[in-house]
């Protein structure tokens, strides 16, 4: 059993979080999910979502997989040194770090992706890539894998990446079964990027 910790903050992007959560959550024999935030309690976003979370300091499970999501809240967090230090600690202690959309901007700003290949949302590309010149940014990709880091493009790309991660760890049949269960048309090819020029 692997514990997946999703790091949540105010004004997170709804589907950056809940797309991967649905897919990992469909395999409860492999993945246990917990939602964390800096202070714990209820986290709100611009889609009226109010989600209960555990404070990072109170997490009692070792995090095997860290999920770092994006959204408007990242615009403030890139200037929050306490948040970036916590992100670095969580990332260092995790076996795998997965980001969706502008979540990779947070990892980049914290220096966690230095000398790594990574991608992000195409609509926010300039802002994201400005957060670090030490990252080897890959623009045309649905998701990118470098060592323990999986970074995906915008919003729903996180779902294709999550299935890719499941396929890499537990076999393609497991990923296909989850895709069928959720009636999701999985884009299996991480290099194919329909939104490169949108």
């Amino acid at each position: 059993m692997q514990t997946l910790t999703a790091l949540v903050f105010d004004d997170f992007e709804t589907l950056d979080l809940f797309g991967p959560i649905e897919l990992f959550g469909s395999l409860p024999e492999y993945f246990h999910i917990q939602f964390a935030s800096m202070k714990g309690g209820i986290i709100h976003n611009h889609h009226s979502v109010a989600l209960q979370t555990i404070a990072v300091a109170e997490l009692d499970q070792q995090t095997n997989i860290l999920l770092v999501i994006g959204g408007k809240g990242t615009r403030l967090l890139i200037n929050d040194s306490h948040f970036l230090q916590t992100l670095t600690m969580l990332s260092d202690n995790a076996d795998w770090v997965l980001s969706v959309c502008t979540g990779s901007a947070l990892l980049a700003k914290a220096g966690i992706l230095d000398n790594k290949r990574a991608t992000s949302n195409k609509r926010a590309w300039q802002w994201v890539t400005e957060q670090s010149t030490a990252v080897h940014w890959v623009k045309q990709a649905r998701w990118v894998v470098d060592g323990k880091f999986y970074t995906s493009s915008g919003v729903t790309a996180g779902m294709d990446m999550a299935l890719g991660f499941i396929a890499d760890r537990h076999g393609r049949d497991s990923a296909k079964e989850v895709a069928n269960y959720t009636e999701y048309r999985w884009q299996e090819d991480s290099h194919l990027d329909d939104f490169y020029n949108c």
Copy 2:
């Protein structure tokens, strides 16, 4: 501005809810979102999600669009007459009623879909269709429209349906813009169903 009320219950399916919420929430100029449950407070599901909701009796906005989701919790709710009465009241008062996955089983059991064409999750097809023989069930469909009712197939079919609803009300360009923003490969054809025989 249209108010979309999502009706939530314990053991709801995560992405049945948050897929459509992401897409409607991407057009805040058209849609205001609220999450309701029978008693209000925190609603939990099997993916560790704990979501704050408003009690149905305390909703202060008229519901224009009612979103009825599915999940394991529906297995209990089909025997809950108070829930089904409330669902009927909410449905009668809404301009549009949208269901995802086994949400249509709830509508069917309440008699709301009598003499209407409707679809549902293919994995739960037998159980869903047993809830009412007065519904004209359409098995091979991504989603089905009949009057004010939009019913979709399993989980991610709700996202294609949501974009279809947006296209029907606000034009295809609006739906395509939301799909591009979320980097979602929208399946526009409601008749195409990859999961009919899965």
